[in-house]
Symmetry: C2
Subunit: 442 residues, 2 copies
């Protein structure tokens, strides 16, 4: 029950270090008659299943003037249905020894449980029930709006770093809805009511807009049987909702966003570049951006960390990441924390020198190979966690990719060349069009 | 046939210097049965009338994803009707010795002719005709889209200063449509077609959404007779369209927008503050902002000009203006052109010192009185031009003000105190939340 931050959005692609193992085969996928997509990922290591339902709508699909409604609905989905009062579903999951979670991102909203495999059918009947029978009365909706407003106060309005992130993204996206925070603008959350929630639920919480992902010790036939008996009973409502999003105009100006607040104890620097996503990129381009971001800022052997923290000692931390999973053009972030006595302007110049090295000087072949090996290993290792494996597929499918795209990703990563990385740096790390963020004490 | 720039938007309130004369009385206003508002402003000095039709929709009412359509429709309104082929109306105005124009702003679109008073009825029948009978075929719409795209190329895409303005306004308004240029984003203009134009025309070009302003040597009774015989024949279509606009969230960060382009020969500095408009302000607040902007940057005796250009010689030009006429919260601009050898950072610091003087030091009583006298005199003088008089009323009514607001404006200006100006400076000239724009050579 959270909204996703930029950090967690890439976690599934780089979840930490471990020994790689071969990619799993044997995935199955099919559609129910009502249009609901089903993906089964076999994983027989433990008698446990991961059950996820992904809706292909996120904050970027919020109707104009109703920002935050995707996240609000995620909250409301825990409020009880015609058949099960509030708390019954969550209590059941807990009693059966399971875990549950839900998250709202820009492009999707997902509901997730992990439980002993014998209980999968029970979970599915509960999850299918709240796809159709959610109770949305004023008594339910109004208090939950206050909960969300309080969540916004705690997570954004009292945190200068979160405020800066919000302002930086608003500056990066002048027109596309990625510039609006997932949790919504405060004054628009305040205006959300039962009618909005109901209209949103009716439009987006439909089988034809949903993807079921089941990973675990279970056969596809069994999943199909259970899915037909639960989700399959929900009639198709209409065509899946179209993602009618405005496109971003080309940018020509650099934007520096400076937030000063007395609560800031540690200044910080961030820089965001607009870049294509796995869904919008030319073939190989997103993989090159992924590699570039990792070489720039993926851990202590990255160029930014080595140069700024280890060699020049102008920063105490530095990194970069590419939010590749997105329906529309997305962001590549570079961030650093200045060492004591170093100004953000000095740090900015030092970062610029590192970025320009990638655009102008030969890419180190060994560094490149190490980055690719590590990214692929991380991804293979991600498959070792049933939840991150399921999440990887869900994220891909919900942003317009295919199962084949996921399966072929390691091969495509292998093909990234030094020229690809350099071209990506030249083309996309254009500071003249980027947004830089400064977090400073008052 | 133009879209309005920020400069022309304030021209009617400060059209230049001349001897004041008393405010005119005797305005009349009434509504036709179909909801169309009519205002008659007597002006018997010459046998000429100014005829304006104002539609209460501008670029900020463009449907999402169709930016530029208000301005596009303004072009299409010159393309001919079922009764009069393209060119007939304009040729007639020219043959009768008249002038015509049209303009699209954020909050309204207006059509304007000035002609010998005996031809008023003819004009009205033509203008009423194109409110109802516009021909919108692919043959009309498609070539005109190319004209608008070319207009955008010439006026914005080949002009770095215009590009910077566009980026500055996009940065100032993260969510409100004033952040979208009046002419539209290029990729959305490209997508406008006959269906969009027709839907827009049907929705907005209705008598209940229009205001007729006639200024000139004519009695209200005669205008009423002519209006009933022309506009009055158009049936009401429905309720006037609602301006369903998103509101801007509060800002907490400063944004510096830097545009570098090899075409730039003269660097420039601008700074924009979000401020209430005459329509959204508390009583007296907009008048205080108007006075503040004039004291800051209205001509060669203003604080910015005297300090930066005359005394410190860090600028070769400087000024400020308040775009008070707006349906929603609006902008107060400060701008300066650096003297040779002066960096924009140095100029910025000098501007900051001038702004802080208004917030922190006593307001010079004589300067205040001079500013008020001049602003009131300018406004009174504006009434000496029939066109600017008509435009003043149209602008006010189209942004939600009343005739009484216009008439009482000089009195309200008289009441502005030094404390009002200082409070406005303290409250609204908050650089921590402003947008600064730098225009620089590549």
């Amino acid at each position: 029950m959270s909204f996703e931050t930029k950090a967690s959005a890439v976690a599934s692609l780089a979840p930490g270090a471990a020994a790689p193992e071969p990619a799993r085969a044997g995935n199955a996928s099919f559609k129910l008659d009502n249009g609901m997509e089903v993906v089964v990922i076999p994983d027989a290591r433990t008698p446990v299943v991961t059950h996820m339902v992904w809706y292909k709508n996120g904050a970027a699909d919020d109707p104009l003037g109703q920002s935050g409604i995707a996240h609000f609905l995620e909250h409301l989905m825990f409020k009880g249905t015609k058949n099960h009062p509030q708390g019954e579903f969550s209590n059941l999951v807990a009693e059966l020894g399971g875990q549950e979670n839900a998250f709202t991102s820009y492009d999707y909203t997902a509901y997730f449980q992990r439980i002993g495999k014998e209980h999968l059918g029970t979970l599915m009947s509960f999850e299918a029930d709240r796809m159709r029978n959610l109770v949305l009365t004023d008594e339910v909706v109004d208090p939950e709006r206050d909960v969300v407003l309080e969540e916004r106060r705690m997570r954004t309005d009292s945190d200068p770093a979160a405020q800066l992130d919000e302002a930086v993204q608003a500056a990066l996206f002048a027109h596309h809805p990625y510039g609006t925070p997932i949790i919504g603008w405060n004054h628009e959350i305040e205006g959300l009511d039962r009618a909005h929630a109901l209209a949103y639920y009716e439009r987006f919480y439909t089988p034809e807009n949903a993807i079921l992902i089941v990973a675990g010790d279970i056969e596809a036939d069994e999943v199909e049987r259970l899915a037909k008996a639960t989700y399959g009973k929900i009639p198709a409502r209409s065509a899946p909702p179209r993602r009618a999003r405005t496109k971003e105009p080309p940018h020509r100006a650099h934007r520096l966003v400076t937030l000063r607040d007395e609560k800031v104890e540690q200044p910080a620097h961030e820089q965001v570049f607009l870049a294509p996503s796995y869904t919008t990129a030319q073939p190989g381009e997103a993989e090159a951006l992924e590699t570039l971001a990792y070489m720039l800022g993926g851990g202590p052997t990255s160029a930014l960390y080595e140069t700024l923290v280890v060699e020049e000692k102008v920063a105490v931390g530095a990194g970069a990441y590419y939010m590749g999973s997105a329906v529309d053009d997305t962001r590549l972030w570079v961030y650093a924390t200045p060492a004591p006595g170093v100004t953000l302007e000095e740090l900015d110049a030092a970062i610029d020198r590192v970025l320009r090295r990638f655009a102008e000087e030969p890419i180190d072949a060994e560094h490149l190979q190490r980055a690719k090996t590590r990214l692929i290993a991380d991804a293979v290792y991600a498959q070792d966690s049933q939840a991150s494996l399921a999440r990887w597929y869900g994220e891909a499918l919900a942003t317009g990719l295919t199962i084949e795209d996921v399966v072929a990703w390691p091969d495509r990563m292998e093909q990234v060349t030094a020229a690809d990385v350099q071209n990506a740096a030249r083309k996309w790390l254009d500071r003249r069009r980027a947004v830089t963020g400064y977090l400073l004490p008052a």
